[in-house]
């Protein structure tokens, strides 16, 4: 038990393995031949520019979209994720970028949506207690769990969505832009939370545009570009390397801007 965290990631159980995943929307190829491995107790960051196919890949894994071709292997068995319920049942939980909450329902109802306790006679008290426990674990600042989601702020909604994904003790949790809507303290909480989830031996896939957050928690950084794999990096990779993998060239708007600024600084003194 104690040795698990010292082992290299590749020695641990492979939770999820994608081979040659492609997804076409009409004439557009959103994903082409994507390969991806996630081990237990590993945080894989998925980075890429807008339109690189990150969210599409997450939706494929969540069962929202079906891949055009390719195989998905989950815990050693090939699986078909035909709908969201299948993915949830296997233990793949997702926090979507748009959070997918029902604004007319309260926090408890949203956390337990689709997994209510005692279906014929809803056990509101037990659900409320469990909801408070989950939210307190995340050090959430939710004033009342009996208010509709519509009355919550963006960060509070994010916390509710994350709490919901943890409800079923998943094996793999996917977070699409988990920190985009959060303040400084809450971002730190979410990063802490991701590490806690990793310590529990879950696989984590995290999408983010924030390189600082990615470097802070990720064990590996997988770069997508225009729907294709464009390299795997370790968190100590330089910004330069990551940016060029993301944008696809040494000569791009980000590096040009950086060199202009460094030239300007050199010429000043």
């Amino acid at each position: 038990m104690t040795g698990t965290s010292q082992e290299p990631a590749s020695a641990r159980e492979l939770v999820l393995s994608l081979r040659g995943i492609s997804k076409q929307f009409g004439a557009v190829s959103a994903l082409t031949d994507i390969d991806l491995d996630v081990h237990a107790g590993e945080v894989v960051a998925l980075v890429g520019d807008n339109g690189a196919g990150k969210s599409t890949l997450v939706k494929v894994l969540a069962g929202v979209h079906q891949p055009t071709s390719g195989t998905i292997t989950f815990k050693g068995d090939p699986v078909t994720l035909s709908d969201p319920a299948t993915a949830l049942g296997l233990g793949i939980a997702t926090v979507f970028q748009d959070l997918a909450l029902c604004e007319n329902l309260d926090v408890v109802a949203n956390i337990f949506l689709g997994k209510e306790l005692s279906p014929m006679r809803l056990d509101e008290v037990s659900m409320e207690i469990k909801a408070w426990k989950l939210l307190n674990e995340l050090s959430a600042r939710i004033p009342s769990v009996r208010e509709p989601i519509a009355s919550l702020s963006g960060g509070q909604r994010q916390t509710v969505a994350i709490a919901r994904s943890l409800l079923l003790d998943p094996k793999l949790i996917m977070l699409d832009e988990p920190t985009a809507a959060l303040g400084v303290a809450q971002t730190a909480e979410v990063l802490d939370l991701i590490e806690r989830v990793r310590e529990r031996g879950l696989g984590v896939i995290m999408i983010s545009h924030n390189m600082e957050d990615v470097r802070a928690v990720a064990d590996r950084i997988v770069v997508l570009r225009l729907g294709k794999n464009n390299g795997v990096f370790l968190p100590d990779a330089s910004n330069q390397e990551l940016v060029s993998a993301i944008t696809g060239a040494e000569n791009n708007s980000v590096s040009r801007r950086a060199s202009r600024r460094s030239q300007a600084q050199e010429s000043q003194p």
């Binding site: 969201p84 006679r121 769990v145 009996r146 519509a150």
Partner: protein, 419 residues
């Protein structure tokens, strides 16, 4: 100010009262001010319909003193039950943000089916009724199939169904055009004469009060044991006592005439059952979720197609049930059954009662309250000897007002973060 600070001390231990930024309604004064806050932000609940009902009753009573007589009110309850049952189905459909425009035709078709099978073919009456209800369920499942498989908007499919089912009704009734149901039969008695004995109606009103107290008390104790905030026992008792007294007073007044119709009892029973299903079951929670955000519900693993199918089948089955009750009320199955204003009255009742046309909000009780408003208008205008032309215009205006109130309240809720 002082009792606020006193109350704050023990609350700190409660699991759901740790956050100091939220106002919590405490005691009677708190409940009243919370109610006004809710209304101001557009969460009107059944307030508009109760205000509307008070206005309508005052106006009609001042124009014709017979209006609020026990006799007239008993008749009103008989008439409410038929369209009310149909409106209950409409509540289900509106909850999903869909619509069923064919409930009138389905009710007429069901009444024709009962007439043909029972009177013309000599089937046992129970068989004929069950067959008509199953036929309703089949029609509903066709709408659900069209929506789920072909993405056909319910507005269009049920409009097509309105014509097609009306055609079926006319075909069934053939050239004669109408079938009289035997006057002495239990079905017709049920629709025209059968009222509860006084002790039954008083007993049911008392049971309602005990039920309210018991569920409230049980929940409060469980919450308190679990370390959550709970309603005070005194508040629960007060609520139960007030509601029981109100119900008993109504029952007493109506018992001075014929009494409470069994048919209305059936309607209220269905309303209570539907309220439980929508509020306390997983199915009801899923209905709210699909109506509020269909894609979110799907991603939460809810079988959205199943929810649509159950809602459409339930709506059509209830429409058929309403049609059978209407046939028993009129003692006939005719070509006119279910035509005219039945459709819109049912939809109007649900909307006037407070079920939103935009989906995700509503309650079974809105069918009950709404249909009482609609039938009060109909009955009042009949007493004033006004023609049906005027009745249509006034009912249309009331429906328009109800939808305007719904839209404005929705806008206000959005801006107050209560959508």
């Amino acid at each position: 100010m002082t009792d606020k600070t006193i109350q704050n001390a023990p609350q700190a231990q409660l699991l759901d009262r740790a956050d100091v930024r939220v106002k919590h309604a405490e005691g009677f004064g708190g409940a009243v001010s919370a109610f006004f806050d809710r209304v101001r932000s557009g969460d009107l609940g059944s307030l508009p319909v109760i205000v509307g009902l008070a206005i309508i009753w005052t106006v009609f009573q001042s124009l014709n003193p017979v209006f609020l007589s026990a006799n007239n009110l008993v008749n009103l309850l008989f008439d409410c039950s038929t369209v009310g049952v149909i409106a209950l189905g409409i509540v289900c459909i509106l909850m999903l943000g869909e619509i069923d425009l064919s409930v009138g035709s389905v009710s007429g078709f069901a009444s024709a089916l009962v007439g043909v099978l029972w009177v013309n073919q000599g089937w046992p009456v129970g068989f004929a009724i069950v067959t008509a209800m199953v036929a309703g369920a089949v029609i509903g499942s066709v709408y659900a199939l069209l929506l789920n498989r072909f993405g056909m908007p319910s507005f269009v499919s049920t409009l097509a169904g309105l014509l097609a089912v009306l055609g079926l009704q006319l075909y069934l009734l053939g050239s004669t055009g109408s079938i009289n149901l035997p006057y002495e039969s239990p079905l017709v008695n049920f629709g025209q004469l059968m009222v509860m004995p006084a002790w039954v109606s008083y007993g049911l009103a008392a049971i309602a009060g005990i039920g309210i107290f018991w569920t409230g008390y049980r929940e409060a104790t469980r919450r308190r044991e679990a370390g959550l905030s709970a309603q005070s026992i005194a508040g629960i008792v007060a609520r139960a006592v007030v509601i029981t007294a109100l119900l008993e007073a109504i029952v007493f007044y109506l018992n001075s005439s014929r009494g409470i119709p069994w048919m209305f009892g059936l309607f209220v029973g269905l309303v209570v059952a539907m309220n439980y299903a929508l509020k306390r079951t997983k199915w009801g929670r899923s209905m709210h979720a699909v109506g509020g955000n269909r894609e979110a519900a799907r991603r939460a693993g809810i079988n959205v197609r199943y929810i649509y199918t159950t809602a459409f089948m339930l709506c059509s089955t209830l429409a058929a049930t309403g049609g059978i009750l209407a046939a028993s009320r009129l003692a006939s199955s005719s070509q006119q059954a279910g035509t005219g204003d039945v459709n819109l009255n049912a939809i109007a009742a649900a909307v006037i009662g407070g079920t939103s046309l935009f989906g995700g909000r509503g309650s079974a009780y809105s069918a009950l309250l709404g249909i009482i408003v609609i039938q009060s208008i109909a009955s009042g205008l009949t007493l004033l000897d006004l023609s049906s032309s005027l009745r249509y215009m006034i009912t249309g205006a009331v429906l328009a007002i109800a939808v305007i109130v719904d839209s404005l309240a929705r806008r206000s809720r959005v801006s107050h973060g209560r959508a």
